[in-house]
């Protein structure tokens, strides 16, 4: 791999004062659960960032956050945090069903946003985020941080530069769903929520259901009301990379079909095992499978003259010599970033373009949204990637969005 020099943050890195009303980026953190707390600590390692506000509707999470960022103001409701004029930007790590409301509110409040993937709970809410970010001129970075790692970038450059010839197939291997991350899988009985948790707020725009421990925190992804299964958990990583390698950041599939195992769990209704096939113009097929023994975890592009595989453990190529090849400046070179989080901070200063803006995140997530719709309807979904519309299936079209529970709206 080229020992390419990091390029991008230089100018921002030496602007220590007067770029923003405060000397540093004043960061608010919304959502301090599993992901939120860990990523907040990453942001805190950047000397240009000061975490000044934190927010969670679980008092236990908020207390953990306050212990890690003792100088930050604490908030129960995100609206209070967004109302603080000194906050320049937010890091958002709430469950998927909250993404759109928090993100569009933040854009309206003039905050820049680093939002976790997938972009939103459903396609329509993702589009609403894109519109709000555009309308209010905000900087947006999606948490698709694999784009900032050298192996992924190099793999995509190999594919982009035709080193494996014309690509006809892409295989995206993802983990199975329904992993019981915090041991709450058996706690399915309805009952009163713990005192530390504001259950009504946690549900927010999702349809009302009674509290059960299996619905919240580390396993909300497994329920369609609040997440999109392991497909939507990972679509913003390995499918995002697949798209990046194929220069599909402004395009998408033309049809998607899918099938999956019915969930045996009484609350988690997303499939434990599944397989989605997305077809693109130019005779390209992408297979995305969760928990499939036949598909290696990671992203593999298969071309006429070889293949490239990449995941977090490394990169492999056929022929093997490809892995030692070089990308010259006269070929397509993708942006080199020091870290995904720092690049967001750079752009807050310079107002430059992030690696993963909202409209790209929507494109990367679209095969996932359509894949879930295909699985649930049992039909092949035809998609117009230019107008971004489902074709000839009014029932499926209704699943692109959903009605938020009152009083929430976008």
């Amino acid at each position: 791999m080229n020992r390419r020099v990091f390029l991008g943050a230089g100018a921002a890195a030496v602007l220590r004062a007067d770029v923003l009303p405060s000397a540093r980026v004043s960061l608010g953190v919304v959502g301090l659960g599993w992901m939120g707390l860990a990523t907040m600590k990453i942001f805190m390692t950047d000397p240009r960032v000061q975490v000044t506000g934190i927010c969670d509707i679980d008092a236990d999470h908020l207390n953990e956050g306050a212990a890690a960022a003792p100088d930050a103001r604490t908030f129960h409701e995100f609206e209070e945090l967004l109302a603080r004029p000194e906050i320049d930007a937010i890091y958002m790590a709430v469950p998927d069903h909250w993404h759109a409301i928090v993100a569009t509110s933040a854009a309206r409040a003039g905050k820049d946003i680093y939002g976790e993937k997938p972009l939103a709970h459903n396609w329509a809410e993702g589009k609403a985020i894109c519109d709000a970010v555009e309308r209010y001129g905000r900087v947006w970075q999606t948490g698709s941080w694999q784009r900032s790692l050298p192996d992924f970038r190099f793999a995509c450059e190999l594919v982009r530069n035709g080193r494996i010839g014309k690509v006809s197939k892409v295989e995206v291997g993802l983990p199975a769903g329904l992993t019981d991350w915090d041991g709450t899988g058996r706690l399915v009985k309805s009952g009163p929520p713990p005192k530390s948790l504001d259950w009504q707020r946690w549900l927010g725009p999702a349809p009302w259901v009674p509290y059960a421990a299996a619905r919240v925190h580390k396993t909300w992804r497994w329920n369609y009301d609040t997440g999109g299964g392991s497909l939507m958990d990972w679509v913003g990583h390995h499918v995002d990379i697949a798209h990046w390698g194929l220069d599909l950041d402004n395009s998408g599939p033309i049809s998607v079909e899918g099938s999956g195992e019915p969930s045996p769990h009484p609350i988690w209704d997303t499939p434990p095992l599944w397989r989605v096939t997305a077809r693109y113009a130019g005779d390209l097929t992408m297979t995305i499978a969760g928990g499939s023994a036949g598909l290696r975890p990671g992203t593999r592009w298969i071309g006429e003259e070889g293949w490239v595989w990449v995941d977090r453990s490394g990169i492999e190529t056929s022929p093997r010599s490809l892995a030692s090849s070089r990308i010259s400046p006269n070929e397509v070179r993708l942006p080199v970033t020091q870290s995904h989080h720092r690049q967001f901070v750079d752009c807050v200063f310079t107002r430059g373009a992030t690696l993963t803006p909202a409209h790209v995140a929507l494109r990367s997530a679209t095969p996932g949204y359509l894949g879930n719709i295909a699985m649930r309807t049992g039909r092949t979904i035809r998609w117009d990637p230019v107008r971004q519309r489902i074709l000839d299936d009014p029932i499926a079209e209704r699943l692109l969005g959903r009605t938020p529970r009152s009083p929430w709206s976008l």
Binding site: R4, A11, R108, S259, P262, P266, A323, R376, R405, S406
Partner: protein
């Protein structure tokens, strides 16, 4: 909601054998239930009608799947179920079905549910998504008959439906005492977006919600009003200014230039972004008049805008007194620089430090065009040592294959930084054709550090060939008398990973020189593929040298983890062998660490088998727990 089922073959492949019986029962139950309901949908509806939260949701999921797959064909069935539903959970289930399968025919029954607080939300969930005039009319009718919390939701739904007919009713709610209702009314009018809706918003009492809604429907006049009105938030003013610049840049231009000089850095940043788009490089005329932060933003915006004529601006700014400005200019030159900038960039890379040096190096490595490569290579011989180092670094960065001969010459330079940088650059550029010359250089290199650099360079050149041919290296090894050179060549062979070198390495395991024997063992342990597993196992089991046994076993454990075509069960077998060969707790723990990540019944069995070993009992128990948990879920 049940997804479409996987074909049975795929399911068998995906599920591990453990727990299969339990899952088979679940499957069987599901299939029987599905088959039953498929033949008797009315039975399914009766079943759902008594459903409550916490109970078995199979029938609910089947109903939802039926609705998604059948559409309007089952609307009547869903409505009959809704009428007979005994619980809120059941009503919710039927409403979800109607949300996707319902038509205007469902509107009356759903509208009736809007009157009650506990059913209003589920009814609206369905009504909002049912297309056609009937559902919209029912929602509008309910506006005057419902309490504020329900009314707020209805207003939201009418807005999301873009129901123009509801504008007269919704505009009356803009002044509602209930704040959420008033905000929802404003947002709804913004969604509807008709001239009447915009007129209603323009006439409304100013508020954040009204401003946000107006931004969604604004024309130039509205943007201007929002930008100029007192009391607007900075976020709204920025959005209005950007909006105006998009729809009428002539009108926006003076405002943008005024904003460029404002005290608000956020407003200033927005102005820069729009002016860069509208004005192009003439915006650079403002560089002397603005603060450092704005200069950086102007250069960033011009760089990203791709407007012609940006390069001279960048070159001039690269000489600024402000470090941040210089860096922003260098970053821009990475994109827009030409061969004419090679001297500037190389000189800056040699003289600057920190971020500025990084930016200059990055730019020198990134400027495009074949002439850039030539300019860099041609500048090397005449450059002073520091600039030469930067030029050579750029050759490596740019992988300029034609520079190999120049680099080979520079690799023997008396100046060590030049020498080392050349060897490193050759690592990026040398092809298999240069291997003999590199080997000759290695053979005569006395400094160990330089030789280490060369080892990596030779290996890299070899790996670049399709066959990773190591014939030249083997020949050089056999011809070398100096043990240090032989060890270096052994390292090269290991790194190249060509099986043709294995006989030589096996032979070297018996060399009279202990350092060479040790290097041969290291070469096997560092092999990039699992090929020498058997060699390492034999060494680990061989009696005598305990240190060799340990190193060999560690190498074995390392190679087991490399990618291969083995099944997990086969890998577990290799780990079992390693565990049997291990005598010390360190190696046993290393084996367990791998076992723990290998999710298969055989690795669980192995972890259990050593749980009684007092040296590693704790780690073994942890591995057992981890694997049991991992195996209890479908992978």
């Amino acid at each position: 909601m049940s997804p479409a089922r996987l074909p049975p073959v795929a399911a068998r492949q995906a599920f591990p054998s453990r727990g299969r019986r339990k899952r088979c029962w679940r499957w069987l139950l599901f299939l029987v239930t599905a088959a039953l309901y498929a033949t008797d949908p009315e039975a399914l509806v009766r079943q759902v009608a008594t459903y409550d939260f916490g109970k078995d949701p199979s029938a609910v999921r089947e109903l939802e799947a039926l609705a998604l797959r059948s559409g309007p064909a089952i609307e009547k069935l869903l409505l009959s179920g809704l009428a007979s539903a005994r619980t809120l959970a059941a009503k919710d289930a039927f409403c979800r079905g109607l949300a996707v399968a319902g038509s205007g025919a469902a509107a009356p029954a759903l509208a009736a549910m809007l009157a009650k607080l506990d059913t209003a939300e589920m009814a609206r969930y369905a009504l909002e998504r049912i297309p056609g005039a009937q559902a919209a009319a029912r929602l509008r009718d309910a506006l005057s008959r419902t309490s504020p919390p329900v009314r707020t939701g209805i207003v939201v739904s009418l807005g999301r439906r873009k129901d123009a007919a509801s504008v007269p009713a919704i505009r009356l709610l803009l002044d509602a005492k209930d704040r959420q209702l008033a905000e929802a009314a404003a947002a709804a009018l913004g969604h509807i977006g008709t001239p009447e809706a915009r007129e209603a918003l323009l006439a409304a009492r100013p508020s954040a919600a009204v401003s946000a809604a107006l931004l969604a429907v604004a024309d130039a006049g509205t943007y201007l009003r929002l930008y100029s009105a007192a009391g607007q938030s900075e976020a709204v003013r920025i959005a209005a200014l950007e909006g105006l610049a998009r729809v009428d840049h002539q009108q926006a231009r003076p405002l943008l230039y005024a904003a460029l000089k404002s005290d608000s850095v956020r407003l200033q940043a927005a102005a820069i972004s729009e002016l860069a788009r509208i004005e192009g490089t003439s915006l650079a005329n403002e560089l002397p008049n603005v603060a450092e932060r704005a200069r950086v933003q102007i250069l960033t915006a011009l760089t990203e805008s791709g407007r012609p004529g940006v390069r001279p601006v960048l070159v001039e700014s690269a000489a600024s007194e402000s470090e941040a400005t210089r860096i922003a200019a260098l970053i821009g030159l990475a994109k827009w620089g030409t061969a004419a900038d090679v001297a500037l960039l190389a000189g800056r890379a040699a003289s600057a430090s920190g971020d500025e040096q990084s930016a200059a190096r990055a730019a020198l490595g990134a400027i495009r065009g074949a002439r850039c490569d030539d300019a860099i290579v041609q500048a090397i011989p005449g450059a002073g040592p520091q600039v030469k180092v930067e030029l050579i670094r750029a050759v490596g960065e740019r992988s300029i294959a034609t520079a190999a001969e120049v680099l080979l010459t520079a690799a023997s330079d008396t100046n060590r930084p030049v020498r080392v940088e050349s060897i490193r650059a050759l690592r990026e550029t040398a092809s298999p054709r240069q291997v003999p010359a590199l080997l000759a250089l290695l053979a005569k290199t006395a400094a160990e550090n330089d030789r280490k650099e060369l080892e990596r360079t030779v290996a890299s050149a070899i790996r670049r060939s399709k066959e990773a041919s190591v014939g030249d290296v083997i020949g050089a090894y056999q011809g070398a008398a100096n043990p240090d050179v032989r060890i270096s060549l052994m390292n090269v062979l290991s790194s190249a990973g060509n099986a043709a070198a294995l006989p030589l390495i096996r032979e070297s395991l018996r060399d009279a020189n202990a350092d060479i024997r040790r290097a041969a063992l290291n070469a096997l342990s560092g092999w990039p593929s699992p090929e020498p597993l058997d060699d390492l196992l034999a060494l680990a089991r061989a009696p005598g040298d305990a240190a060799r046994q340990i190193l060999a076993l560690r190498g074995y454990i390392k190679l087991v983890q490399l990618p291969s075509s083995r099944t997990p069960a086969e890998t577990a077998g290799l780990l079992k062998t390693a565990m049997a060969a291990a005598t010390r707790p360190d190696e046993k723990r290393a084996v367990l660490a791998v076992v723990q990540r290998l999710v298969c019944p055989e690795s669980l069995e192995l972890a259990k088998s050593v749980a009684g070993d007092p040296q590693i009992a704790g780690e073994a128990r942890l591995a057992v727990t981890t694997l049991e948990r991992a195996l209890s879920f479908v992978k």
